[in-house]
């Protein structure tokens, strides 16, 4: 398990197929499964939308999810802009569905691997300046780093970097601890308790998805609205 750098805790070590420059491991395969589920479900349900009160159950479900996320984005102060909603809702849905898939045996959540969570945190890290510059211009966004006083410039930069690291490691730590605890309890008391711990893992998966999204929302709102946010 000990290699030269940060090691993967098992999910990435299962290599399914390999050519000379590309290794298909379980993490990538499970990420593709989550993507396929999200895209196929959305495409199938939105093929026949009905604006009246006679909805199918699936359309109702999608509306509940979209309205909930829209409400959250508005209450943070980001308004009705669809670009924020699309980015943040994708984050939430990806992490939530990948946590939900743990019900299926043989599937391991791709967010239980440090690569995926670092990638998601890197998306947020890139999205915050992009949205900030989009909304306030390059000068207005860079001036934010000098608030409240120019002495705070190194601290603001360090804050940016450490929040990204914290986002990645928080999600990774929560997911991998669920996997590890279930594995260890399977060795100790395998009849009933692993199920309870898997339920707890499901709950923390959803809570972590919500926390990740809320933190990304707050960072983007701080970059977009500036001194009054």
């Amino acid at each position: 398990m000990m290699k030269g750098g940060i090691v993967a805790m098992g999910v990435e070590d299962i290599i399914l197929w390999q050519c000379n420059w590309f290794k298909l491991n379980m993490t990538i395969l499970n990420t593709w499964i989550v993507m396929a589920v999200l895209v196929v479900a959305s495409a199938a349900i939105t093929r026949s939308l009905s604006p009246s009160l006679q909805l199918t159950h699936w359309q109702n479900l999608l509306e509940v999810i979209v309205l909930f996320l829209q409400q959250q984005v508005e209450s943070v102060g980001l308004g009705q802009n669809f670009r924020y909603l699309s980015f943040l809702a994708t984050l939430f849905l990806f992490i939530a569905v990948s946590a939900l898939g743990n019900i299926v045996p043989g599937y391991e959540s791709p967010t239980a691997s440090l690569s995926t969570t670092v990638a998601l945190a890197a998306c947020v890290f890139v999205a915050v300046p992009v949205f900030g510059i989009w909304e306030r211009g390059l000068g207005g966004y860079l001036r934010r780093y000098l608030e409240p006083t120019p002495l705070m410039l190194p601290f603001n930069i360090i804050t940016e970097l450490s929040r990204t690291l914290a986002l990645a490691v928080r999600l990774f730590g929560n997911m991998i601890s669920d996997v590890m605890v279930v594995g260890i309890i399977l060795m100790v008391a395998p009849l009933f308790f692993p199920v309870l711990l898997q339920l707890l893992g499901l709950l923390t998966g959803f809570v972590q998805a919500y926390i990740f999204t809320v933190l990304a929302m707050v960072y983007i709102a701080a970059a977009v609205s500036g001194s009054e946010g």
Partner: protein
């Protein structure tokens, strides 16, 4: 004692202590934060949404401290630079 054995013992012990001691402070801080958030929601139920969101952001900030301890523990166990050096030297 051999350098290899000493590195192993110290890394393991410190990794455990880091996580154990490093999660006391954040846990107490989060307990206090949640307690005052619950009091605030009880006093103003209409603002429950805002209070909950602020609570989560605050909890995330406090939890960062425990996460940094977790990262140090993981580095000590899984990506220990001194271990690599001593293993390479013992292998030669």
């Amino acid at each position: 004692m051999d350098g290899l054995i000493m590195i192993a013992i110290i890394s393991i012990v410190v990794a455990g202590l880091t996580m154990a001691i490093g999660s006391i402070g954040p846990a107490l801080g989060q307990a206090k934060a949640i307690a005052s958030a619950l009091t605030a929601i009880a006093q103003q139920p209409d603002e429950a949404g805002t209070i909950t969101r602020t609570l989560f952001v605050g909890l995330a900030m406090i939890e960062s401290m425990a996460i940094y301890c977790f990262v140090i523990a993981m580095i000590l166990i899984f990506a220990n630079p001194f271990w690599q050096y001593f293993v390479a030297r013992a292998g030669r």
